[in-house]
Amino acid sequence: MIAEKTGLNKSDSKLIMSFMWVTFISLLIGGLMGLLQTLVRTGNFTLPFGIGYYQILTVHGVILGLVLTTFFIIGFQFALMAKTVGMTSKQRKWGWASFWVMLIGTTASAIMILLGKASVLYTFYAPLKAHPIFYFGLTFVIIGSWIACFVNFRQLYKWKKEHPGEHSPLLAFMVVINMLMWFICTLGVAATVLIQFIPWSLGLVGSMNILLSRTLFWYFGHPLVYFWLLPAYMAWYAILPKIIGGKIFSDSLARLAFILFLIFSIPVGFHHQLLEPGIDPMWKYIQVVLTFAVIIPSLLTAFSMFATFEITGRQKGYTGLFGWLRHLPWKDVRFFAPFMGMVAFIPAGAGGIINASNQMNQVVHNTIWVTGHFHLTLATTVILTFFGISYWLVPVLTGRKIDKKINTLGMTQTIVWLVGMFFMSGSMHLAGLLGAPRRSAFSDYQGSAQAAEWIGYQYGQAIGGSILFIGILIMLYNFFYMTFKAPKGVEEFPIAEAPTGTEPTPIVLENWRLWIGITVVLIAFAYTIPFVDIIQNSPPGSPPFEWPIGNN
């Protein structure tokens, strides 16, 4: 009976809850590191027990950027797939395999970071050298995520076989797009780690091509951020309309947006390498143009979302130019948290366009502006949407119901988060424009008058960081409450329907060969010539350097 209503049986729930546990434990550890960083940067706080600033910075980036996101996303996507196309017990076993492989990898890397053997930050740029086990750990995380990819592909394939001639369910389609993108882009980081980093860190080869490794990393690094964003978009397109009592604006447009993300999010990595030597500026500009193309599906999304809000409001009888806004369930955290995430994406997206603007990148590159930027995108838009999802997903998984108390706490949490982020991200943006660097411990830069101007903003970051940490504690309480304490019952798994009486979704949108083909062609166009250039004109490689990160 419960399974009928939620679409998830006990075994599915157990698997998905395991992913959620890792997510929320990561949130606590990573968030605590973030708090400590902002305190250190005021200049009035020293880390105890000889812990290094860059050690906690590595923990923060790895555990929040790579671990929390990947575990939540894969867990959430398993829930969507189990609900829309089903999960066989064999697929579930592979789901567990993916969980354990990722967890083993995470643990191995985490131990190396805690031992101080891998303070290389989450981007692990060579020729800084971490302990080989750190790289093996990351490889396991990627391999675990690939297992999840193939489980998801298999789930949709099987459903299609059983439902010939039918369109795949929208959410299952979106999950498969996201995992396809993930698989194609992680090939780059896997290549550099397996072919370059591991043999080099083991001492099997003496030197490494640095620019090549960076190019492979950023081939992965930008789609990585879309891998975070697309699950939030899934919730916006196909779950929020149900929560507000409406329907999906357009099934076809939603699918089109996701296809555009698949095509355009990968061949754009050079916009992270704009200030690097050894890459032809023509190719940098070409990838800047492609980067701008990936803004288009986000514009489509913005239109679709507000169209859904307005149509639903007008159907409910609200009139006037903006009167329909009043119908929105402002007091329902399942709506409010993702909605505020959406609002944050307006300045976040604008900042992103600035970062990607070719020569304009010189003004902000590697300043703390960039940190402010991705604390709006990932740490506000994406994470508030993930929190919003967990307010119904966790009760669905634990057989409980969201109650008034958790709703109130959730609303409070969202507001605390927004206030904290306003101060933290705001000060980061402003300090960055003055030239303050990212990824740096406290320093007065030899008494520089310029650096003295940044201190006020560093206090702003500490105030924001402290408020955000309170937000994390509230969120953790919410998670425990929803797991163990909330009243038992059947919580709704909200999935919106497509509007009736509209044109059918064009069949071409499900032509996987076509879209994968275009994706591959575009990647080949954007990368082949510069890649060959980099290899042909490469300088002698770099030997590994251990001492700069404190290892001798």
Partner: protein, 168 residues
């Protein structure tokens, strides 16, 4: 696939705006020559002194002509090497007259470093095996802090130097 009239207007103006942005960037980069730093010259990162610009004697500020300079910098963890002054001490401050055209030319002999002159648009990555160059005119007098803005190890935040732009 049906597109609503408002959606056409929205997407049209959105894509149109992006195109205008790209055209402005393109004109700036290809016509006015403000390309992002993309020097293609390579050297051996384990033997940077083999390159003329990074020989001990050639480091630091080199005057090329009236208000025209090259600044050769060799970065390493956690220091910017500008060569030595007459007394044999390491140069920590570079003094340049306002209005000078300066070619910044730098490389690293170990890990990746940043090269950012806070408060100006001088900002580039230094990667082993490559020379990074950036030309700019320093018009505004003042004291500018040179900062490593790419993580290079435990002393990353201590890697700094000073550039003074003075009025003549």
């Amino acid at each position: 696939m049906h597109l609503h009239k408002y959606e056409k207007i929205w997407m049209g103006s959105g894509v149109g705006t992006l195109l205008i942005f790209l055209i402005v960037l393109g004109i700036g980069a290809f016509y006015q020559g403000t390309q992002p730093p993309s020097c293609m010259v390579t050297l051996d990162p384990t033997n940077v002194q083999a390159h003329e610009a990074f020989k001990e004697d050639n480091l630091g500020l080199q005057k090329l002509g009236e208000k025209e300079y090259t600044l050769n910098v060799l970065a390493s963890a956690f220091n910017y090497d500008f060569g030595k002054d007459e007394d044999g001490n390491a140069v920590r401050t570079i003094r340049i007259p306002a209005g000078s055209k300066v070619m910044f030319q730098a490389t690293t002999k170990d890990v990746i470093h940043g090269f950012q002159l806070a408060g100006t648009n001088v900002n580039m990555m230094l990667e082993p095996g490559y020379i990074s160059t950036l030309e700019t005119t320093l018009d505004n007098p003042g004291t500018y802090t040179l900062i490593c803005n790419e993580y290079c190890g435990t002393g990353h935040h201590l890697m700094t130097a000073t550039v003074e732009v003075y009025e003549e």
